[in-house]
């Protein structure tokens, strides 16, 4: 009530009597259909223009545009084990060989141990430590000091000398399955290699065949691995196309609900809805702005991948752009649907989290679908991101043509069309509650 006395004292500012023009009597109404389409387009372009203008003036967002994909690449590129990052793993060697009952290690077991050391001097996979007994090796694994232990059996030399196999046990840490799988894999190969060498030398000694001939008998198949593209693609090469699609998906799925929920909360959406603008031009304008944004985001990932992480694009750039567009088309309906279902920004974010997390981990963006258990592979197969990422990977890594990714394109198109068909009426209804 105090305010009232104040404002009675203050005279309203003297405004120069500019005559505000009066409304023309004949106001154009009920435009016909071509006019209507023109207006819808013009309105949506202005809404898109406004959104992008706001976006371009948001410095924090512009910085995040580069920072987010950069961190994603770094994180996903370096945290997952990728074979060649096994280095200096602490492994115990227990030589319990009891040669001829002397209580000492026999020559065969000593040879194996020295072979293990020799090979490791080149590869540096492991850091061996000689340990006295089986039990202390086990204890070291339990304590987490060692990752595995190689245990040479008591009658190792005796067995080999009497043409029986020498037994070796590999004890591994079950609390870390990924690392254990790597270590046991490498150890198996290593043992096989040393064993073969041993066999070749043995046979060579007793026959008059050459080393090469003996080798051909012991290991009759010689395998070499060659990809369809030159060079040896890194994990980033696998990661980058999926990451591109993921960023595009996240952009389209989250950008739209967030933009509309924000306008709803701040009250500006009311202003747009109260204007003679169709609901369709609002959603179209927003979609246009989000599409541009998603493209920018996708290209930022590509740029970072090529410049910083040495990724090479083998396929056609036009097809790459087209696939990004298909990715956006596939997800935009989902974005509109979330927008229509969520009444505020918080709800929208929650729904998006629920949808995005499984997509992120199950769509083969971070690791191949083939590595998942069979039931999870089925889950992966119903996710559109799986197809988008798969097609993009084929284009970027394998240089696939449009014919090679036609099935993915069709799946994304159908998925996108169905969702758009469902979501646009839903959106119109949500806007006129």
């Amino acid at each position: 009530m105090i305010a009232m006395t104040d404002e009675n004292i203050i005279e309203p500012v003297k405004v120069e009597p500019t005559k505000i023009s009066t409304r023309p009597k004949s106001h154009e109404r009920a435009p016909h259909s071509s006019m209507r389409i023109k207006r819808t387009l013009s309105h949506s372009l202005w809404i898109a223009h406004k959104d992008l203008l706001e976006f371009s003036r948001n410095r924090v967002m512009l910085v995040m545009l580069f920072v987010f994909p950069f961190f994603m690449m770094i994180m996903t590129g370096y945290i997952f084990p990728s074979g060649n990052n096994v280095k200096d793993m602490p492994v115990s060697i227990v030589n319990s060989d009891n040669y001829n009952g002397t209580g000492h290690a026999g020559p065969e077991s000593q040879m194996l141990v020295s072979a293990l050391y020799t090979v490791n001097n080149n590869t540096h996979f492991f850091k061996y430590k000689s340990v006295g007994t089986y039990n202390s090796a086990k204890e070291k694994i339990t304590k987490g000091e060692q990752n595995a232990a190689i245990i040479i059996s008591a009658n190792f030399t005796d067995n080999i000398r009497s043409t029986k196999p020498g037994y070796v046990t590999v004890l591994y840490d079950q609390s870390n399955p990924t690392i254990s799988a790597e270590i046991t894999g490498i150890l198996d190969q290593l043992m096989d290699q040393i064993g073969t060498q041993h066999a070749v030398l043995q046979i060579n000694r007793t026959t008059n065949l050459t080393i090469v001939q003996t080798k051909a008998i012991v290991k009759p198949y010689s395998i070499s691995n060659t990809g369809t593209i030159p060079g040896n693609p890194s994990y980033f090469q696998f990661l980058a196309p999926g990451m591109m699609m993921m960023v595009v998906m996240m952009g389209t799925m989250t950008g739209l609900p967030r933009a509309i929920a924000y306008e709803k909360d701040s009250g500006t959406l009311d202003g747009v809805l109260a204007a003679p603008t169709s609901r369709f031009s609002i959603i179209l304008g927003k979609v246009m702005a989000q599409t541009v944004r998603a493209f920018i985001q996708g290209f930022v990932v590509l740029l970072l991948a090529v410049v910083l992480f040495g990724v090479t694009v083998h396929g056609s750039p036009i097809l790459l752009v087209f696939m990004m567009f298909m990715g956006i088309y596939g997800f935009i309906g989902l974005g509109i649907m979330i927008t229509s279902l969520a009444s505020d920004e918080e709800t929208a974010s929650t729904i998006m989290m629920v949808l995005q997390f499984p997509m992120l981990f199950l769509s083969g963006v971070l690791f191949p679908i083939q590595q998942m258990p069979w039931y999870m592979q089925y889950v992966a197969k119903v996710m559109p991101l799986t197809y988008a990422a798969q097609a993009m990977r084929k284009v970027v890594v394998l240089g696939a043509g449009i014919g090679d990714i036609m099935s993915e394109i069709i799946i994304l198109f159908v998925f996108g069309t169905i969702l758009l068909g469902l979501s646009i009426p839903l959106f119109k209804r949500a806007m006129t509650r």
């Binding site: 009530m1 500012v13 154009e28 809404i47 706001e54 009250g267 202003g271 809805l273």
Partner: protein
């Protein structure tokens, strides 16, 4: 259907809105003539904002309808939107855009012919003395400056009707005076019909030709401000202002049971009592003394719009909202959302 002098600019027909089992607007029938300034007065959640949202086509009535300039808000919503301007309680502006960019966007959305846009923006910016700031971003503006842009934003389309929801809430006295002056000019110079909601009784008294007191979704009284005030006294009612010394917070409740008392409401030390009795003054003073209240001053007052409000709704206007300026212009009505945590 084109408006003529005989058809009202706004007419509602049993206009109603229900949210689940809560009736926000209950069969409102009102008619507003072209060039009138009509005020909606009512406590929080009375249905003012919901009524405005229906009339601006932002939400659909659950039953009943209304016409604006002859157009039906349900069947001809696009035509309605062409003739209506909205000054919402939450400002309709994009902070990262300049004043001119904001206005231009809405001019485009309202289909203002391309060659007229810039001229009209200059004209509007000049009327609120904002020409100098036209190309500055909104985020740099003070609340008063923002509100001036917010008001002229509603005028870019040259509307016939402008709805203003709390146009002076949170403004400093100077800006408040400016906005009130602008509202009067819109009506006087252009004959724009204005529907206004406000918490400030004095504002409604100065600006409005007619006032509708709205409570629990219904219009409980409707007339010119002076008639509304006169009606209270006509009926043999007396308004008594009691200024008390350190009264308890529920001092007003002591009077509600007194014979002849119609209503009593307390704002800090002041208790307003409306009473219908010949010995009104004596009764109120005696009741105060009997309840151990210390009287600093007691006087018979000319009824104000607040008394009208108190009389019809049994409640004082929410004092906190009137006195607390600024601190964001968040909505307090249902705003077309489901009512969560209702007041009362």
């Amino acid at each position: 259907m084109e408006n003529s002098s005989s058809t009202p600019m706004i007419q509602t027909f049993d206009l109603s809105k229900k949210f689940d089992d809560f009736v926000a607007v209950d069969k409102i029938n009102l008619s507003v003539q072209a060039g009138e300034i009509y005020g909606f007065l009512g406590p929080n959640g009375a249905g003012k904002s919901t009524a405005i949202r229906m009339l601006t086509t932002l939400t659909m009535p659950t039953s009943g309808t209304a016409t604006i300039d002859g157009y039906d808000i349900v069947k001809q919503s696009e035509e309605v939107r062409e003739v209506v301007g909205l000054v919402s309680e939450k400002m309709i502006m994009y902070d990262r855009l300049t004043a001119r960019e904001n206005l231009r966007l809405f001019a485009k959305l309202y289909n203002v012919p391309k060659n007229e846009i810039e001229g009209r923006l200059d004209e509007l910016l000049a009327t609120v003395n904002m020409t100098k700031w036209a190309d500055e971003k909104i985020e740099k503006f003070s609340t008063g400056m923002k509100q001036r842009i917010n008001v002229i934003r509603a005028l870019v389309s040259m509307p016939r009707v402008v709805f203003m929801d709390e146009p002076t809430l949170g403004l400093d006295p100077q800006s408040t005076a400016d906005i009130r002056h602008l509202i009067q000019r819109l009506r006087d110079d252009q004959g724009i019909t204005i529907i206004l909601t406000t918490h400030i009784m004095n504002e409604a008294d100065i600006l409005c030709d007619r006032i509708g007191v709205i409570d629990r979704g219904k219009i409980v009284a409707e007339d010119t401000p002076s008639n509304l005030k006169a009606k209270i006294v006509e009926k043999g009612n007396t308004v008594i202002n009691l200024e008390l010394v350190n009264p308890p917070a529920d001092a007003d409740s002591k009077f509600k049971t007194v014979d002849g008392v119609i209503s009593a409401a307390q704002t800090e030390n002041l208790v307003k009592v409306i009473i219908n009795k010949d010995d009104a003054y004596q009764t109120v003073v005696e009741a105060a003394l009997k309840n151990g209240l210390k009287i600093h001053n007691a006087s018979v007052a000319m009824p104000t719009l607040e008394d009208v409000f108190l009389h019809y709704t049994g409640r004082a206007m929410d004092a906190k909202l009137v006195e607390k300026p600024s601190s964001g212009r968040r909505g307090h009505g249902p705003h077309g959302m489901k009512p969560r945590g209702r007041i009362r």
